[in-house]
């Protein structure tokens, strides 16, 4: 129905947002219920992220930082799970920290899901440790870089002094860290890690971030400060493919494609409306 004086082009330019939301529900739900299996190509930055972990020498020390909260679960949870699978399957040691206070909840969810003692025969306190939250944002990052023992005195799971764990004998400051993995959505995140860990200690970084942060982190990749970047759920699907463990991100890949096709269609329709109206006005 087109009102009097209103053209079809006006209508196209001003579609009720609720119709758009309904259409998004319609295009997203079916591929999640019944996946189509659209092909996933792997980008060089995903390969770089994968290779950086894959090529770590045995016994390397990794720090994984949860720089996000529950609001970013949809995008970063699958990447975090895949990263942990990868780390647990390699002969490396790692510590988990969080600069966001909801970070430990997400990390605990992942640890509970993976059950590393059973699945990977990794011993807590020897092969990996969960240090929990370090409050203070960038200040905490700087303090951790200088003195990890003094900044986080007890671990998150057993609340025992960190000095009692064998893994911590090899992890006292940023100087002992071979690679830092930041799973981030904003501040504090990669920017702050670059300032507090890369510049003073030259700790190489890997970053997995929500898509919207990708343009902010990309310059660090070009400058060699960040070895690999996983921007968003789509990159998560690529990473899962490289690992040979298709999980949540792969399941979401089809829905990402269909939703993006719909957005493209909206953009095209909106532009057709705009240009048609402009042409009419010129005529």
């Amino acid at each position: 129905m087109v009102a009097e004086g209103e053209t079809i082009w006006d209508k196209l330019e001003n579609i009720d947002r609720r119709i758009l939301y309904l259409l998004i529900w319609i295009v997203v739900l079916p591929p999640l219920i019944s996946p189509i299996g659209l092909p996933i190509s792997i980008s060089p930055s995903t390969v770089a992220y994968y290779e950086a972990i894959e090529k770590l020498p045995p016994g390397s020390m990794v720090v994984v930082s949860f720089d996000f909260g529950l609001s970013a679960l949809g995008e970063l949870y699958p990447i975090a799970v895949a990263t942990f699978h990868h780390l647990f399957s390699r002969p490396v040691k790692f510590a988990i920290i969080a600069t966001w206070n909801e970070g430990p909840i997400v990390a605990k969810m992942i640890i509970d899901k993976l059950n590393p003692e059973q699945t990977y025969h990794k011993v807590y306190g020897e092969d990996w440790i969960f240090l929990g939250w370090a409050p203070g944002g960038e200040q905490a990052m700087a303090a951790l870089g200088r003195d990890i023992w003094g900044t986080i005195t007890k671990d998150y799971i057993y609340k025992k002094p960190v000095s009692q764990y064998p893994i911590m004998q090899h992890l006292k400051s940023a100087k002992d860290v071979d690679i830092l993995i930041s799973l981030e959505t904003g501040t504090p995140g990669a920017d702050e890690w670059v300032r507090q860990w890369w510049e003073p200690y030259h700790v190489p970084m890997l970053v997995a971030c929500i898509g919207v942060m990708a343009p902010t982190v990309a310059p660090y990749v070009q400058a060699g400060q960040c070895l690999g970047l996983l921007p968003g759920l789509r990159a998560g699907a690529e990473y899962e493919k490289l690992l040979g463990r298709p999980e949540l991100a792969t399941a979401a890949a089809d829905a990402i494609s269909t939703s993006h096709i719909l957005v493209l269609a909206f953009v095209i329709i909106g532009n057709i409306g705009y240009f048609a109206k402009r042409r009419r006005r010129m005529e």
Partner: protein, 243 residues
């Protein structure tokens, strides 16, 4: 008990997810309820987690002989000053922790920001390779270099850009920035859609989410839809009665 917890957790998760999404139709009591519950629980979690962190990290160290306990007690006192934000008379005390936080934050950032986030980027841009790489990489590198220079020139306000040579530079700079904004917008769409898809996976009980979510989803969706339409009709009837 665990069954009850699982079901209750799934019920609440689905209810509040759909209550938040009901805002897409228009603001309504469901969305307001979800909003208030979220704010309340987030603040509650923050306070409880702060206290738990202090207890767990400092348990057994509350002795005057412990290293750093004086500094910690000082920090605690300083932290309490934040609450003078709510006092008109002693508001000025709130400025002390604010100044310290701002000062230390800026100091720490400035210590390295020039090297980490400026000079390294400049060096990386200046050092891009045009020879010894394949033709496509060389072209990309050249394009990057030209784009950076053009955008920097575009924002050179100290020179009047009246000479004809500025026109193509400015046009190219504008296209470069438009491409950058486009890429940023594309990534924004990716994030928004991904977060939404994540919630859909939760509603559909895709592993690792609880399969019980799938059971509650249609019923709660129906409940919210019906009440939403009912509420809409009620609001409209009240509005027409007033007029």
């Amino acid at each position: 008990m665990s069954d009850f917890t699982t079901y209750f957790g799934a019920f609440l998760g689905v209810l509040f997810t759909l209550a938040v999404y009901s805002f897409l139709y228009r603001e309504n009591p469901w969305s307001r309820l979800a909003e208030h519950m979220f704010i309340g629980s987030a603040i509650g979690y923050g306070i409880a987690y702060d206290l738990d962190w202090m207890r767990s990290q400092w348990e057994g160290r509350w002795s005057l002989t412990s290293t750093g306990v004086t500094a910690f007690a000082f920090a605690l006192l300083l932290g309490l000053l934040w609450y003078f934000r709510f006092s008109r008379k002693y508001f000025w005390l709130y400025r002390i922790p604010l100044a310290i936080i701002t000062g230390t934050g800026l100091g720490l950032a400035f210590r390295t920001v020039v090297f980490a986030q400026l000079l390294t980027q400049v060096k990386a841009t200046a050092g891009i390779q045009l020879v010894g790489v394949d033709a496509w990489t060389a072209f990309n590198n050249l394009l990057s270099a030209v784009m950076v220079v053009c955008v920097l020139l575009y924002f050179t306000f100290t020179v009047r850009q009246t000479h004809p040579v500025w026109k193509p530079i400015n046009v190219f700079a504008r296209y470069t920035m438009m491409a950058g904004f486009g890429a940023a917008y594309g990534y924004t769409i990716l994030t928004r859609m991904s977060l939404y898809i994540g919630r859909c996976q939760f509603l559909l009980g895709v592993p690792p989410y609880a399969p019980e979510n799938k059971t509650f989803f249609p019923w709660i969706a129906l409940l919210i839809l019906v009440t939403l339409i009912g509420y809409d009709l009620y609001v409209k009837s009240r509005a027409s009665a007033k007029t």
